[in-house]
Symmetry: C2
Subunit: 245 residues, 2 copies
Amino acid sequence: MTYCVGMNLEQGLLFASDSRTNAGVDHIATFCKMHIFETAGERLIVLLNAGNLATTQSVVSLLRARCNGDGANLLTIRSLYEAAELVGATLREVIARDAGEAGMGQGVDFGGSFLVGGQLRGEAPRLFNVYPQGNFIEATPDTPYFQIGEAKYGKPIIDRVIHYSTPLAEAAKCTLISFDSTIRSNLSVGLPIDLLQHRNNSFVPATPYRVTADDPYFNQIRAAWGCGLRKVFAELPDADWLSPD
Amino acid sequence: MTYCVGMNLEQGLLFASDSRTNAGVDHIATFCKMHIFETAGERLIVLLNAGNLATTQSVVSLLRARCNGDGANLLTIRSLYEAAELVGATLREVIARDAGEAGMGQGVDFGGSFLVGGQLRGEAPRLFNVYPQGNFIEATPDTPYFQIGEAKYGKPIIDRVIHYSTPLAEAAKCTLISFDSTIRSNLSVGLPIDLLQHRNNSFVPATPYRVTADDPYFNQIRAAWGCGLRKVFAELPDADWLSPD
């Protein structure tokens, strides 16, 4: 499995992805699930993927290869909406190729999904969630974040903390905590985590930060968080209807 | 959906279930998912159910009706292991009846699952997780709890807090927090919560406590928990690699 988070907040965009893939419990491997398409000073488009790795890798390979061609591609399209359309169409194309005919009825799930976000100069930052069917929804100030993959373990903390006006640095902290909860509860999500922030209109070269198992900051906040949680928990009052110890 | 938790701890057993059922978003209803079979001073068997309501209700109805018959039933079997066997067999019977022939290929999931726990005098308390296939696993001191239904949202807090030696009152608090997280993040799980504790060898009549939306204690701890979490979160240090605000 996989866990990816994308947020479109007042200050800008945040992307994070784990890097574990597995087929059953045997084939565990590390693959980066964050893919960046950019033109310095002009355009940043970030893709995060979840689901069938053969499908999503093919989609990214085709999108990259086509950046050198004449047709519409991620370096020429004129809006993030068109980027989501293009990712969706390419996803449908790959699934039709692999799952059609030979692949049918083998009990394999060829589906994949993408978060597609970024900013083109002249447009506000945007973030889309592209479904395996190739259709998509866009984040709004009411619902400024999306998760794909193993989303449930890490959702409660995001639901409690994140609003459209949450500062980016705080959102990044919350995202790391959300990953920590997911990694503790589910073997199929694993370190390292790739994390990327994009401040509105900054257009500096995108440099994802890679959080590894020995990252001092990540270990500091996951320890502080675990310890703080247990402390808050210990301070909760007892109920008179609970059997006493 | 549903969310149920069962724990077999050093001091005794704990059971909790929500009471929302839904078919799509339209058919939302309240059904208690905790079913008690007991003989005063001698036997307590508790069933929690998740999955297809038609299936699980039928299983419970048949198990109850058969308590008046001559065959093996939950009031005559000699161990909790036999109780899990009986629940599993009845589950298979109902699924075969409903999903066999007419029900096949309608795209309906007839599956259901049960947590089966309790104590028979002379035996230690035991807890089983009965799968839709009717087979089952038993909780041990290494893994003293099971969840069924919408389990993921509420798993991280249980993973952090619960050990075999956790006192029952603390386990009940943790369970309520786990339900709070689940209810906040998932519409298909809802109040009231039924919560039951059984101290080892107590055999007092089982009286589940029903936590409703206006339960003062539940509201007190969910508020304190939310507030405490945000406080712990606010105190986490910033990373120097996070873009400052």
